[in-house]
Structures are given as C-alpha cells and as structure tokens.
Symmetry: C2
Subunit: 432 residues, 2 copies
C-alpha cells in the first residue's frame, strides 16, 4: 500500500483540522483508497506558535512555494488564502510539476480559475476545490459529477454564513442590522472589517465558481452584479415576512436568452422553499436542471466542515481521480455572454419613505403605470416613530414581473417628483 | 476517443429516459469523460411495444443475461427491478466478466448487496447504484466519497414519495388517509397494491443501503424495525402540527452504544428542521457526522430524476472510477450489531381513545408513572363526533425521553385496565 504524502500550506483552523481528521480517520481512509493518506510536510508563517496539533516528524517549510515543489510530497494542499502570492505562486508551482492540488481558496480561483485550470491540464495535474464553495456542502462534486446528465438552468445559494446569521437574528430578535453585525463580530462570525462578507463579495466569488461548473463557462467574477445587505432594515424583513417571504442574500446564476445572468443581492424567497428555512450561519445551494432540482443544506464555513471537504478531495486524489477542474476541458469553457442586470426580469418589493402629503400615493402609482409596471399590492404602513420623522410613511409596493430597467426608471421619476424622503429600498423577488 | 458501449436491460420510463438523456447530452458527456457514452444494445420483454424512443440500430436481446454477457458492451445497466432473477442473474453475469454494472434496483441490493459487492471485487468490476436510493438525490456519492473524512452518527430520510405525498395532502387538505391514498393511486404515485410503499418496506430497502454506506456495515435489511403510515389519522397529524411538529415516514439509522439502530416508522420532527418542510413526493436525506451535518432535498423517483442518477454513474464508469460498492472492501464491512427496538430511546406521542368516565386520566397517568415515564404534556381533546363514538375522548400524551420498552409496557397496562376504546396510536419523536 503506497502512501499519499500530503504537503499542507496554511495552519489555521482548517489546516490543523485536516491534520487531525487525517489522523483520526486513517484506517477508514486507507480502506477506502487503498493508500495511507498522511501529512508529511507543512508550511506556515510562524514556526513557534502552538496550534494544538503535533507537528513533530513533519518537515517544515517557511516558503510554501518550496513546499509545493518539494519532491517528498505527492499532493499539495493550499489553505493560505488570498488571490495573489504566495498562494498563487505555490499552486502554480505544484501544477507545473503535474502534482495534484487541493485548495479552499475561493478568491484565488474566482480571479485566476481559468488560468490555473489550463495550467493543470497542460501538466496532467488535477485541481480540486470542494472546500472553496459552501464549505462542507459537496456542491462542486454534485455539479461536476452527479448532475452530468442535466442541462442546468439555475444555481442559487445562501453562500455566506455571516449575512445569513445577521438576517436571521434581525427578524427573530427584532434587532437592527448594526446590532446584529456587532453580535456576529463578537461571536467570530464576522471580521473586524466585515465589508467582504456583508457587501456580497464573498458570495460573488463562490457564485463565480458555481456558474462555471453549472454552465461550462469561463469563471467571470467581474460580470456579477453585487449588492450587499447593509441597507436592509428590520421593517423590510418584517414586511417580507408578512407577505409570505424570507429575505436572504442569494447568489443566483441563471441561463437566459441573452446569456448567463449572475447576481448577488438580497432576495425575497417564498417561505415554503427549502432555502427559505435555512437560518443562522448555515448555507444552502439550490440547483435546477432539466431532469433534477436539488437543494443541499449544510455548514458553509468552520474548521471541521471545511476540513471535511478538503479530506473528501484528498480521497479522490488518493484514488487517482482526475476530473477537469470545471468539469470539461478548459478549452471548451465558453466565454459567458453577460446578461446585463438591466435586463433582469422578476417581481420587486419597493419600499418608499413617502412624504406624508395629499397626492403622494397617486404620484407613485402613476410613475409605475408610466413604466407599464403592474402592481400586485400597494400597502401604506403607519409611520414608525422610532425610525422615521412623523412626516413620512412607508409605502410598500409589490410588482408583478417586470424589468430592472423599468423599475429603476420609475424610481428615478418618483424621486424627481420630490415625494420620497430618503433612498427607496428595492428587493428582488424569486418565485416558483 | 473510445466509445463506452452501454447495454441496457429494462425499457420502462427510466430506461427510455436514460437513452434520451445520453443522446441529448452526448457532446457534454464526451467533453467530461473523453469518451462517447452510447447505448448499443437493449433487453426488454416486448420487442414490439412503442416506447417513444428510436431503438433502430440497437441490438435487441430477449434475455437480459445474454445481454449482460455480450462481448459488444462495456457496461451493463440493470433497470428491470425485482430482487431475484432475471435481474440478479444478469447482474451476476456482468460482474463475473469483470464488467461494470449500474443499477437502480434497491430490492436486489437490499437482499443481495453484500454478495454482489463481493462478486464485483473478486472480478475487478464495479457496482454503481446511485439511482437505487432517493432517485435524483446524489446521496450514495455523498456518503461514499464526499463525507469520507467524517465519522457518521445518523442518517435519516424521507425515502418514499408516495407516503410523503399522502401525509402532506392529509394535513393540507384535511383529508383521511384512504382518500389521499386513492388520489395518489389516480395520479400514478402509488401502485394498485400500495403495500410495499405505505407499509414502509420500500423505505426499509433504501435505508438498508444507506446504513451500509454510512457505517461500513453489511447490508442487513432484515434487522430493520418497520412500521408504515396506514394507521395514521388526520387527528394525529393535526395534533402534531399544533405541537410544533410534522409527521413524516422516516428511515433512521443511528449509531448507538449497543449497535446500529435501523428503523422505519412515522416520526414527529420539529417544524424548523429542513426535512420537516419537504412536502409532496419530494425526498430528503439528512446526514449527521462528527464534522458535517447535511440535508439533501430532491426528487426521489420519476423517469428523469432516476435517469439522471444512472447517467451520473455512467460518467463515473466512463472516467474509470472504481469505488468499492459500499465505500470500503467487502471484507471490511462489519456485521452490524443489531440494536433492538425495545432499547430505542426518545420522546413519544401517544394518543389514546379513552373511555369517557371518571378516573380514566388518573389511571393513564399512573401507568406512565409506574414505568418512570415523564410527561411533557397531557391534553384531552374534545371528542370528534364524526370520528368517534360520543363516549370516547382523545387523550394525547407527549413524553420526555424514555425507552420503547417502557412505553410498550405502560400501554399494555392501560389496555388491561380497560380505559381505552381502541388501539393506542404511538408516534416516535425526533428532536435536536
């Protein structure tokens, strides 16, 4: 039985989790793969730090690129993060030697995925990244292998636990966004600078990879429309709840007549959808194909869950599995036609802080009609004195399917009319 | 590019669905696998029947065993069903030649899984059965590959669409079991003889396979405790709903101190669990491991969904994938210690049709106390005159965690006391 010698760069919670898991599961993994899967060498910044795992007997590298090139390893695991060097240089070094790579680095793949996939193929190496999207949920394998028989139409997901935690807490505990963000930071769910999570960029990186797997397109994170959750108020979440919806930060990739639409934004989803029930830091991915629609729910982050995905990839490597990085040869990945957000069609929730004077509702309704937007409902809510000046009232509109462009024009016209007191809130609705 | 020549036995909706899917997805599957995956030969009973697919150019076999042995195929797909011959003989014939087999046949594997896995290994063949459990949900691959790093503790699932449809309809439309069963039969969700589905045997077959994959044990369908949904009344579903639960027919396999507990029975699950929201014919599987807990939701049956699973397996075959049938070598599969149902511990819902006379409630409460069963609640419901004689009233007990044995003894004592008018209803509760 030959060993699979693992070189591991990055010794944070995921890296140490992988070391512990490989140790704990050694006998079972040997039974599954016919090989002993063991970490033999590591690279990290600080050699002296106590990480709670025994590193004695493992070769130490200060330079992850040197580890990636070392002749004593069979597979390189990159858990450093970051979309540039040294992660990029180290991954490239391993692939150039035809060595398989397992990574959890969504930022690196979102930016350089096509180049790295090309490099893997050119050198007969394989590049595995189950841990990079939705942590412990096996969505990469599901898209790349299990659903091969399907033409996929849509992939959507709750891909950021921090945002989902904040949205869950706001509604359940009737708290403001800022209070919940502070709580998430205290609990370690959010960074001191939470921009990357709450403004949707983390979700966008993961979505870019799912899009490529689902539609056979080149990874194109730059074409994703991104909107975060910072502007959402408790009043919006409550209004949505009353209307039978939950508000989730979704990443959505959709096949349309004009191309692949990729977008990240707060979304109202019907409560009976499985994804609507997914609360706190849990993630979920829904896939709609011509034969099968699936929803996968599980932990999107955390040391153990991410380590589980890394170890799953390592067992594939040990068994000699060599899938194409994005399912098909990189030369066949299509340049995705970018469906512009203005063309997006769907229902909308629009909340306006309307100036409390005669004719306001009529003005609003007329501007909608001017853009041929049909209204499913229009509700004026009693002003909440804690939130608003007494002179404004919430007007909530729910539209039937229309276009992003029409909604934006109607809102611009309403603002020009001077009947709203602050920026309108717009939340897109996904329906059956 | 070498062809992967498929021989397919069984031309029902799944078989014809596979032929159509391989045709429709030919270019994509070739890109993924580097091979052309095509059906070249088929076997079925009636050669003359019009099945809506073009069979010209395909070799026809009246005998599936002859097809399985034919030198013109590289992989044998068994979609005939049945736990005996000819399905068994045909699968064995292919495996004996070292030929990979893909099957959707849960009954065959539940009964002969260990023998067939041994035969596959002895001959260097592989045996794939993603389609046999929960149709389009990739739970076999998830357990066998993605979660290899986990020690699993529990697998549970809604594995029979017919039962889930009936339970959903009963509660939503306030209908009786028999009315909903009739509706399911009219819609083609249930057979003319629905025993196999509604009495839990279909769920048990699938559970037996999941248990083996999850716990590395020999398939042992005979040790599963099985109870169906026939005895459930609308009153039970409504009472559960009031208490914050949904009633589902679950298959549950659990690692316990005394062995692997395998059971199929109506189960009350908290409404906030993802699995509680799964309605109509949809299936779901929840997996709890030491690193990851996942829930997968999707179609459990139907031609397209099952064909999707078969085609996923065929792409693995085309790529040369050779996992062990149940994840590890058959010689390492443990004989599962059977945890007897009497030892099962959990909460219980007990509904008694109590004789409406003084002292009845006291008698019931005393018998529970005699068995050291703590009650979380005891509710006496107004008699429903449409259902019951005016002389009986429903008494509903919810117990804290206790044992199956204690509950059975308490109920026997209550029955002996003569204070109940009909058979008590018992539903086990799963909790966080």
């Amino acid at each position: 039985m030959s060993d699979l010698r693992v070189g591991l760069a990055g010794l944070g919670t995921v890296g140490t989790g992988v070391i512990r898991m490989l140790d704990r599961r050694a006998a079972d993994l040997a039974a599954r793969t016919g090989r002993t899967v063991k970490v033999v060498a590591v690279a990290a910044r600080d050699r002296t730090r106590d990480r709670g795992v025994d590193l004695s007997g493992l070769a130490w590298f200060d330079d992850p690129v040197a580890l990636a090139r070392d002749g004593g390893i069979d597979v390189f695991v990159e858990l450093m993060g970051g979309d540039g060097d040294p992660a990029k240089a180290a991954v490239e070094a391993a692939l150039d030697l035809g060595r398989p790579v397992v990574t959890a680095n969504k930022a690196l793949l979102a930016r350089h995925g096509v180049d790295l996939a090309r490099r893997a193929e050119a050198n007969g190496a394989s590049l595995h990244f189950e841990a990079a999207v939705a942590g412990g949920i096996p969505i990469v394998k599901t898209l790349r292998e299990s659903l091969a028989g399907n033409q996929l139409e849509r992939v959507s997901g709750i891909l950021n636990g921090t945002c989902n935690y904040i949205l869950t807490r706001m509604l359940e505990e009737k708290l403001s966004f800022n209070v919940c963000l502070g709580e998430a930071q205290r609990l370690g769910y959010a960074e001191a600078d939470p921009t990357f999570d709450i403004d949707g960029y983390d979700t966008a990186h993961k979505l870019a990879l799912l899009t490529s797997l689902a539609f056979g397109t080149q990874v194109d994170a730059d074409s994703i429309y991104v909107e975060g959750i910072r502007q959402l108020t408790l009043a919006d979440l409550e209004a949505a709840d009353d209307l039978g919806y939950k508000v989730k930060l979704l990443g959505v990739a959709l096949r349309t007549e004009t191309g692949i639409e990729q977008r990240v934004h707060p979304t109202m989803v019907p409560k009976h959808w499985p994804i609507a029930q997914v609360s706190n830091v849990t993630n979920a991915v829904a896939v709609d194909g011509d034969a099968v629609s699936l929803t996968l729910v599980g932990p999107g982050a955390g040391g153990d869950a991410t380590a589980s995905a890394v170890v799953g990839d390592l067992t594939d490597v040990a068994k000699g599995g060599k899938d194409f990085t994005f399912g098909i040869p990189v030369g066949l990945l299509q340049k995705a036609e970018r469906a512009p957000m203005q063309r997006h069609e769907g229902g909308y929730y629009i909340r306006l802080a309307a100036v409390n004077k005669p004719g306001t509702a009529a003005t609003i309704a007329q501007r909608m009609a001017d853009e041929h937007i049909s209204l499913e409902s229009i509700v004026q809510r009693r002003p909440d004195l804690a939130d608003d000046a007494a002179a404004t009232a919430h007007v909530i509109l729910i539209t039937y399917a229309t276009t992003e462009e029409a909604v934006r024009r109607a809102i611009a016209a309403i603002e020009a009319d001077g009947v709203v007191a602050s920026l309108p809130q717009v939340i897109r609705i996904e329906k059956d």
